[in-house]
Symmetry: C2
Subunit: 307 residues, 2 copies
């Protein structure tokens, strides 16, 4: 096999209570990449469609992730990467993670899988480091492993994959405003009250328990964030109204996707997720704000080969 085409899914990180540790993988939103072996050693980005991103390997997240991987494996050939972006940069649904994860996943396939998907996370994190200054795993982990992922620790890396309950769907609305991860980080406070922290880790425990027991109501009760959301949600137009509308229309819970501006809602079943999408859309239509919306089952497989 000399060429591979892959689907690189969008992801939702944080999931309200799980700031910096939880994420999930989407099925119907994502990029595509084509990766092929080339006689020339090294990594070259040969095409980028759908986004204005650097073609230089060392400045591109996919390039940097691939280079980190090639440091750990001997090859007497190189790779060319074509990137077809559908996930907008700065959307909050893991645009850089999709490219970073895609590059290392695709090359690993072409090399005959010297690494497990979990091992690939470390390489993909280098792409995240280029994108945001922080080698975090909360988007690349669900992109590579699928389902829900818990990043218990980044040093040493310890990731737990949790299978998604079978009827769980996500609705994600992306208001077309720019919100840089660095700006979303700058509003955070460096300390939190012990009381709020206890509430948060109780909810993380509840969410994990709800996922294992497929208890949708418990999942919903646990999707609560009193630490990050109050600080970041003011940066997102209509956040409170969108969230309340999602809940009023049957969402189990709703919150900021990653560092925003996208807003997610989880629900039981596709019908509920579509109803929520319609209601969320109406809010932004009324506000005359352009938006994109996704309805997706949770993707338990993660990134995958298309042909």
């Amino acid at each position: 096999m000399n060429t591979i085409k892959i689907f690189c899914p969008a992801t939702i990180a944080n999931l309200s209570c799980g700031f910096d540790v939880l994420g999930l993988c989407l099925e119907t939103a994502g990029d595509e990449m084509i990766i092929r072996k080339s006689s020339e050693k090294g990594i070259r980005i040969t095409k980028i469609i759908g986004a204005d991103l650097p073609m230089e390997t060392e400045k591109n997240v996919a390039g940097v992730a691939a280079l980190a991987m090639l440091e750990k494996v001997e090859t007497d050939f190189g790779f060319e990467i074509e990137i077809y972006k559908n996930i907008k940069a700065g959307s909050g649904i893991g645009s850089s993670a999709a490219s970073s994860a895609g590059a290392v996943f695709g090359i690993n396939e072409l090399l005959g899988r010297p690494f497990t998907r979990k091992e690939l996370v470390l390489f993909a994190m280098q792409g995240e480091k280029l994108a945001s200054g922080n080698a975090h795993a909360d988007n690349v982990a669900p992109a590579l492993l699928g389902g829900f992922t818990l990043v218990r620790s980044t040093n040493p890396l310890d990731i737990i994959k949790i299978k998604s309950p079978s009827e769980l769907y996500a609705t994600v609305v992306h208001p077309q405003i720019e919100l840089r991860t660095s700006d979303a980080r700058s509003v955070l406070k460096q300390t939190v009250s012990l009381t709020s922290a206890i509430t948060q880790w109780g909810n993380v425990g509840g969410l994990i328990a709800g996922l294992y027991t497929e208890d949708y109501e418990l999942i919903g009760r646990s999707l609560h964030d009193e630490i990050i959301e109050p600080l970041r949600s003011v940066l997102i137009p209509g956040f409170d109204l969108i969230k309340q509308t999602a809940l009023d229309n049957g969402a189990l819970g709703s919150g900021i996707s990653g560092s925003g501006p996208s807003i997610f809602a989880l629900s039981k079943g596709k019908k509920a997720a579509e109803k929520i999408a319609k209601a969320m859309s109406q809010i932004y239509k009324n506000m005359d704000l352009p938006y994109e919306i996704h309805v997706s089952k949770i993707n338990d497989e993660g990134i995958k080969v298309v042909i």
Copy 2:
């Protein structure tokens, strides 16, 4: 049935990462209580053996918990309670919780179970409020429900019972010093760093995941507390040495039981738990400090009728 004898188990709250939310139930350490119907209405404490505790109903945790329950159910008779304490007050393994839980469990049995075990938690919490000023559930929940319990929220009360992995054992050593819950509370800080809080909720997630998947290694990696333990452990003689000794002898993890001074270790299998007990004991022998030690399987049933 007019008389009931029950076993009221000791419990370990907090479990390192799960401050104020997690707890587990022991099998071989606990009190006994005898409760009987009496023609005279109300609650009377008629005997307390093994501890110097108030006989007045309103000043006794078992009495207060029972009174809270009787407010919610009509009876034309009353109850007499005998308490046989084995769990020392101030030991950090749920002495007051055993009495509070025992009273409401026993009366509920004599009444033909008008309440579920989960519903009894709310009444038993009133005993905890008398004991510590705080109506917390992290000992009464595991005492009543058995196994591991996650108190996701106290208002409204939301408790998740998690079955214990089948080979999980606890070793608990109780150095015979007095450490009041109020003193153990007073060393806490009201704020925590966001970084430590993230580490903590990652570990809570990991511990819950480890319990559901019976992943003993993951349980061990998650038993870590960088928020409360560093502040409280200085109040416990030999804490660092005891903990390190437990880990060196095969413990999955070790930490402060409740608010101390007891120290717990979890391990896979009885043999490992006994080896840890021997090693822990030797430390306190060397320090010439009196201690009690318990080795127990996790009690998945919780409080139970003896005859």
